[in-house]
């Protein structure tokens, strides 16, 4: 919490959790996909489903997926803008196990064919958590440049990734490791203090045993 979390932020109403947080979930998800979205399946859970319509949660999520921030006055118009940009949107409902009441599952298809499934929660005051990526634990805030590497659970992959970061002068802020079972699918989630060069992210994508690399850049690429 900074002083301007108390007096601020500037945002489109009515709710920091159901509106501003929802915009942020959409925005971070689009950044994670790394390209414009062709089709989005949006499944709402809990309080997002129950009171979301009255809070504009649906419009807010779509606005974020279009690349808008929480203070963008076009948020109420996001459905129209999505139609103009030929972004296909489907809403549904889902009952996610053990999820925060303000949660959503997004299935995103990018314009070049990239796909991403995200489960995210709005945890209050406009703060969010990306809980899962493609069904595997993720658990990060989206406030830092974040690298998510999916790999086979075998020795050496953590070293490959962390050596690359060291070589590029990127300091690790936090690091988490998960796997579904021994020798199965594993994931590392690394929040960094600096941006990772895109060439290095691409290099990781080509390594054997690494199945998917998702990178959240905090460099602003706002769409107009």
């Amino acid at each position: 919490m900074s002083l301007f979390d108390i007096l601020g932020p500037v945002m489109v109403g009515p709710s920091s959790s159901h509106t501003a947080g929802a915009v942020k979930i959409g925005y971070i998800s689009r950044q994670l996909l790394g390209e414009n979205i062709r089709k989005a399946q949006i499944d709402l859970h809990g309080s997002f489903l129950a009171t979301g319509a009255g809070h504009g949660t649906d419009k807010a999520l779509v606005a974020g997926l279009l690349g808008m921030k929480e203070d963008d006055i076009r948020i109420p118009d996001s459905f129209r803008i999505a139609r103009e940009r030929e972004m296909e949107i489907c809403f549904g409902k889902v009952n996610l196990k053990n999820a925060h009441p303000n949660s959503v599952r997004l299935k995103l298809h990018g314009i070049s064919g990239r796909e991403l499934e995200i489960i995210a929660s709005s945890i209050g005051g406009g703060q969010i958590k990306i809980c899962k990526i493609d069904g595997l634990e993720a658990n990060f805030s989206g406030d830092y440049p974040t690298l998510v590497v999916h790999n086979l659970d075998q020795p050496g992959h953590v070293t490959e990734v962390t050596s690359m970061l060291a070589h590029k002068g990127v300091n690790i802020a936090t690091m988490q490791l998960y796997r579904n079972h021994r020798g199965g699918d594993a994931v590392m989630v690394i929040e960094c203090d600096q941006e990772i060069p895109m060439a290095s992210v691409e290099w990781l994508r080509r390594l054997e045993g690494i199945t998917k690399v998702t990178y959240l850049s905090k460099i602003e690429k706002e769409e107009k």
Binding site: M1, S2, L3, F4, I6, L7, G8, P9, V10, M11, V12, G13, P14, S15, S16, T19, A20, L44, S47, L49, A50, T51, G52, A53, G54, H55, G56, D58, K59, D71, I73, I75, P76, F91, K93, G124, G125, G126
Partner: protein, 292 residues
């Protein structure tokens, strides 16, 4: 982040700095920014508040159709000389309602400290500036004072309705605004703290019971009591009246009351106004309008 109002006042005394500067310098360290950057950021917040105030649209309606147009009614009544509480308080009331309505209608506002309580601080400060003609510099300083009080409330208690009920939102906003007005009126640091204490005391126990879970009823109109209470609290202090309970202790009491409130009265819409027959009717109607 300051842990106590007392600590904030002491630091000011030790360094020989006014309260607003103590708060600003803390922000400079916290975000590693310069004096100019910190001051500019607060200036932008005030600018955004003013734009939101001027951008009010009386024709907008919220999605539930419960909210919209009331700010304009209030203004009209002031114009016709019908308001018992006088023109100044009338204007404060109108601004508080307008901002709350703008928020409910998906317009851009400044969460201060929350979106639901976004009308309190701008209603008070913009109306004070209009009445007494303070400089821009002075207004921004007042905002730093209010943010400092908000910081302590957030640290020691809460500024979230889900955690502490409405007292943590409208109550906190009212205390923050009371501190700012007292600063504008030339009150001492002690009086600033006392005004915040008085304002919060008067709203202690206020529950969060929004109809259909929306930031509309009773949130919009509660911004009025938060704003008016800030001004009367400051007036008491300027008249020489003291808060018998120090600010930090009042904030702790608010935190305690908040944690003692049943879950049903903390933004879950399971009791209070939300479950009145009329409240339930609206909920029923909104569910029909939902995603199902």
């Amino acid at each position: 982040m300051f842990q106590s109002v007392e600590g904030m006042l002491q630091l000011g005394e030790e360094k020989g700095l006014p309260l607003w500067r103590v708060v600003m310098e803390d922000d400079m360290i916290d975000r590693s920014v310069t004096e100019e950057e910190s001051f500019e950021m607060m200036t932008q917040m005030y600018q955004a508040m003013k734009e939101a105030d001027e951008g009010y649209d009386k024709d907008l309606q919220s999605s539930s159709r419960l909210v919209g147009g009331d700010g304009a009614k209030m203004e009209q009544a002031i114009g016709e000389g019908k308001v018992s509480s006088g023109t100044f308080i009338g204007k404060v009331m109108a601004r508080a309602i307008k901002m709350g309505e703008s928020n409910a209608c998906m317009k851009r506002i400044v969460a201060a400290p929350t979106a639901g309580s976004c009308g309190v601080i701008p209603a008070v400060l913009i109306s004070m500036e209009e009445k007494d003609g303070y400089s821009q510099q002075k207004m921004i300083e007042a905002l730093f004072v209010s943010a400092g009080i908000g910081e302590v409330i957030s640290e020691r208690a809460s500024i979230s309705g889900a955690q502490g009920g409405c007292q943590a939102e409208i109550g906190a906003a009212s205390a923050m605004a009371a501190a700012a007005v007292t600063y504008l009126k030339g009150g001492s640091s002690r009086q600033i703290a006392d005004a915040a204490a008085l304002a919060l005391k008067s709203l202690l126990g206020l529950v969060c019971d929004p109809v259909a879970g929306l930031v509309e009823v009773p949130c919009v109109k509660r911004n009025v009591i938060g704003a008016v209470n800030a001004i009367t609290s400051s007036d008491m202090v300027i008249a020489g009246i003291e808060s018998r309970i120090p600010a930090d202790e009042v904030i702790d009491a608010m935190g305690e009351v908040g944690s003692l409130l049943p879950c049903s009265l903390r933004e879950t819409s399971q009791a209070g106004l939300a479950t009145t027959p009329t409240g339930l009717e609206v909920t029923e109607r909104m569910t029909g309008n939902g995603f199902d």
